[in-house]
């Protein structure tokens, strides 16, 4: 119960802080919209040139896919690894470590607050895009039901994975390279270039084997309604496995990292 009270207090503080930076959070939303739209435009051009469809994906399917992708990306996003690098480098982590609460809880609250405040606006923009591109959703009620655990697992997976990358900051002061590596892997494998079924076979195999697709692309396909029940089950199992693995790794890395951490400048 004390944790509930703590969370309530942190959430209230978070919302108050957010209210002070309204415009800022709206600007950051441009990032969530531009990339899906440009790849959508590319695929629409390709599909139109080939008579309206690419390997069974129609223009409307592409529109639905990328609208869902933007929505899921926003729902699952986490920026903890960039923030953490800054906190370790500035030595600010020391103060947080002295508090009785694990630093991860502050990130969780920041994350929830940001999403709750930006989602309504993003939703409105995405509806306009969906109408403009004539999106065709194949979603059935059971898709929506499965989407809930899928998106929660995806958000959890991305968050824990981000914390693993973040923990590397205990040993290395320059984390940019690790973050870039992660971002580019996500760019290729998470589904922003194309729906995974349209990728070359060897890339598909890699995509299914790595964790990135389960963070964004997989729940996107569920929300768009393009998956069979078997594929949905495959996705959920894959997410659960990766989440378990990442959580175990995170525990080990965090415990060792705290011991290695000496606070820059201390």
């Amino acid at each position: 119960m004390p944790l509930v009270r703590t969370y309530r207090a942190l959430l209230v503080a978070g919302f108050q802080q957010m209210a002070a930076y309204r415009i800022q959070s709206l600007l950051w939303m441009l990032f969530a919209i531009i990339r899906p739209v440009i790849f959508l435009a590319a695929w629409v051009a390709i599909a139109t040139a080939q008579g309206g469809a690419v390997s069974g994906y129609t223009v409307g399917d592409f529109a639905a896919y990328y609208v869902c992708l933007a929505w899921v990306s926003q729902l699952t996003m986490a920026w903890n690894s960039q923030e953490f690098e800054w906190e370790v480098n500035q030595g600010r982590l020391s103060a947080k470590l002295l508090r009785p609460l694990h630093p991860i809880h502050y990130s969780v609250v920041d994350n929830i607050v940001y999403k709750l405040t930006t989602l309504p606006v993003l939703g409105a923009i995405l509806i306009v895009i969906a109408i403009a591109f004539n999106a065709h959703f194949r979603t059935e009620p059971w898709h929506l039901l499965v989407f809930i655990p899928a998106v929660v697992l995806a958000a959890g997976l991305l968050f824990v994975f981000g914390y693993i990358i973040a923990s590397l900051a205990f040993w290395a002061t320059r984390m940019r390279t690790a973050n870039t590596l992660w971002q580019r892997a996500a760019f290729v494998f998470a589904g922003s270039i194309a729906p995974v079924v349209l990728m070359p076979a060897w890339l598909q195999t890699l995509t299914y084997a790595l964790p990135f697709w389960y963070m964004v692309g997989a729940p996107t396909e569920i929300l768009q309604g393009s998956v069979t029940p078997e594929r949905a089950a495959f996705i959920l199992v894959g997410q659960a496995v990766w989440l378990t693995v990442c959580y175990a790794v995170f525990r080990v890395v965090w415990r060792r990292g705290i011991r290695a951490y000496s606070a820059v400048g201390a």
Binding site: Q24, L27, I34, P200
Partner: protein, 262 residues
Amino acid sequence: MIRYGRIFRSFVGAEIKNELAYRLNFVLGLVEMLLVVGTSLGAVLVLFTQAKTLNGWTLPEMIALTGVYYLVQGGVNLIFAPSFEKLMEYVRLGTLDFTLLKPASAQFLVSTRHISIVRISDSVLGFVVLGAGLVMLGEAITPWAALAFALTLACGILAVYSLLLTLVTLSFWFVRVDNILAIFWAFTDAGRFPIDLYPGWLRFTLATIVPIGIAVTVPAEAISGRMSLETFAGMLAGTAFSVVFASWFWRRGLRSYTGASA
């Protein structure tokens, strides 16, 4: 002019000395850039496994365009982006006073003072990718095309520079504008595809307010010999206008600057 050349040379020299102290940093920056450019090319290749052309652009032309995309980014990120980031900090802290007191054009000083040497790799990689695209294209480049390319590329970078200068000038009125630059960074991504691909509103934005679209597409058109004369004339006129406007706006903003202790 010669004097400004000398000032700029000393800025570069100082940056290089600074950079030499962090050699691993430089190597890592290079590795990052290889990752970024490699995956961007990968995205283009994935698109072309499903199509022969992208809105009339063939694969070699698209590769050349990707090269130009990184050339423009390199041009901006090498000098202007790091300088402007510092400028916003100076305005916030009031230390811009020191720059204004120096006997040289303030606009020149704030635009070129900080150089991110490692970003030369953007331009080098951009040239390599562009060269690969042109070799694949297999057509001889006429001197006229090469000249048009150089001119439009310079115009594109200048147009983007003008936008950035205008945005950071806003920091004289609003102290927190680092987020205004986010507008630019968000739209930058759209430069990776030819501008004719996009729906009307986005094409308009990328050709006028955030000119990253034309800054990449027009030089790519020029070097593959498909640019029309109207586009060329429009590019020159548009750039001239935006440079004049940004410079006027900067001087206008400077008058609102009140300094550190005021």
